[in-house]
Symmetry: C2
Subunit: 213 residues, 2 copies
DNA sequence: ATTATCTATAGATCTATAGATAATGC
DNA sequence: ATTATCTATAGATCTATAGATAATGC
């Protein structure tokens, strides 16, 4: 997780430390350490001691910046979604027609999914381990990303580069795009023997968009 | 998990008990108990004591039938896949043309996904907690189910009810069907406000098959 | 003085097993 | 005698915190 942009809103996590810039930096250390540990060992098999050690400070210090191990998981999930959203939005373009922009966005998104497949898998696996409130917020973040595709679809419909679609259809297609992107992550073991990422993007784009024109 | 059919093959789990029919019955008790606990609390937060108690015997007895908690998870994953495979295959029909049979199979499969969505989610979440060897076997079982759709697609191509498809395309579409079925399970919170299961099946079938004729 | 960090540990589990007991069939 | 089951617990953790120490700025 390079740069963790400001976590929009969501449940605030209590800290004993006053210096908010220090809190920000230390939490980034915590997230960077925990992401890798959670990906390789899973949330439950990672100990708070390991997280503290990998972050470069002691277990006592860790607990000055979070109240519980679940807080660390929440920070990690937030950071992953923020990173995905940022990488995606950064490379969106607003060209002449919605259909083309959508196709380009799918390509960008699938590339991000490829790069972050371990992180996506982690969210699938561990969202359930979050306390109810933070889980809700993580799922909302997922919907916010889905909203990017909804918007592009709506724009394509509006400028007639896509055929007319009812709102529920737009929802469905947006979710399909999301899940087919994730699928490259969690089924790569089955898909990679047959496809390169580029081929996967090409073929899935054709299937996803073929019905929409 | 009603009836757990014979677990085809895969890593055998050691037991101290000689009576193989008893082993079969006790393991079914273990699976039935563990499935529900794992679904509601997750694998790691469920204790072996709870599993034993819910199964109706003591912790000592549990360990006569498995060697480890991971063995229980393996039994559970196996049982879920067997059940899915069985429910799906049971209702497959072999009609006049492949395209129709495929459409019917998708409908059956999505209905099974609806009924077993908690179980599917469990597999997504906990496969990673399995030891390497049993994980491999669980993933193979997943491929075996995907193979059902590959076969139907190949048959549709052969009898010209579907357009010609390269083998990699058949693989891709089969995986898409699988994942779009699962998606109803793990995204129902986002989809159910817009669709009933029947509408979901109808629309997704159209999208999945529209490109294939 | 205040803030941040560390060390040491309380307190609470949890898995897996050893050894005792009950049930079954010769 | 053999097989299945149970009780009791060894042994190993792990989270979270209390209280001590070091660093910073008045």
């Amino acid at each position: 997780m390079g740069d963790t942009s400001a976590p929009s809103q969501g449940p605030k996590i209590h800290t004993e430390v006053k210096d908010s810039d220090l809190v920000f930096r230390r939490r980034r250390q915590i997230v960077d350490a925990a992401v890798h540990l959670f990906i390789s060992k899973g949330f439950h098999k990672t100990t708070t001691r390991e997280i503290a050690k990998a972050a470069g400070f002691s277990i006592g210090t860790l607990y000055e910046y979070v109240n519980s191990k679940e807080d660390v998981l929440y920070l990690v999930c937030q950071a992953i979604h923020s990173e995905m959203e940022q990488r995606l939005k950064q490379r969106l373009r607003h060209g002449i027609n919605g259909a083309r922009d959508l196709e380009a966005a799918i390509s960008v998104y699938f590339t991000v999914c490829d790069q972050m497949s371990d992180h996506i898998l982690l969210i699938y696996q561990e969202t359930k381990s979050l306390p109810a409130e933070s889980r809700r917020f993580v799922l909302e973040h997922e919907l916010r990303i889905t909203g990017v595709f909804k918007d592009l679809l709506a724009r394509g419909v509006a400028d007639f580069s896509l055929r007319p679609l009812h709102p529920p259809e737009i929802t469905l297609v947006a979710h399909n795009i999301m899940v087919v992107g994730h699928m490259w992550g969690f089924r790569r073991w089955a898909l990679a023997p047959s496809f390169s990422l580029e081929q996967y993007i090409q073929l899935q784009s054709d299937y996803l968009l073929g019905e929409l024109t």
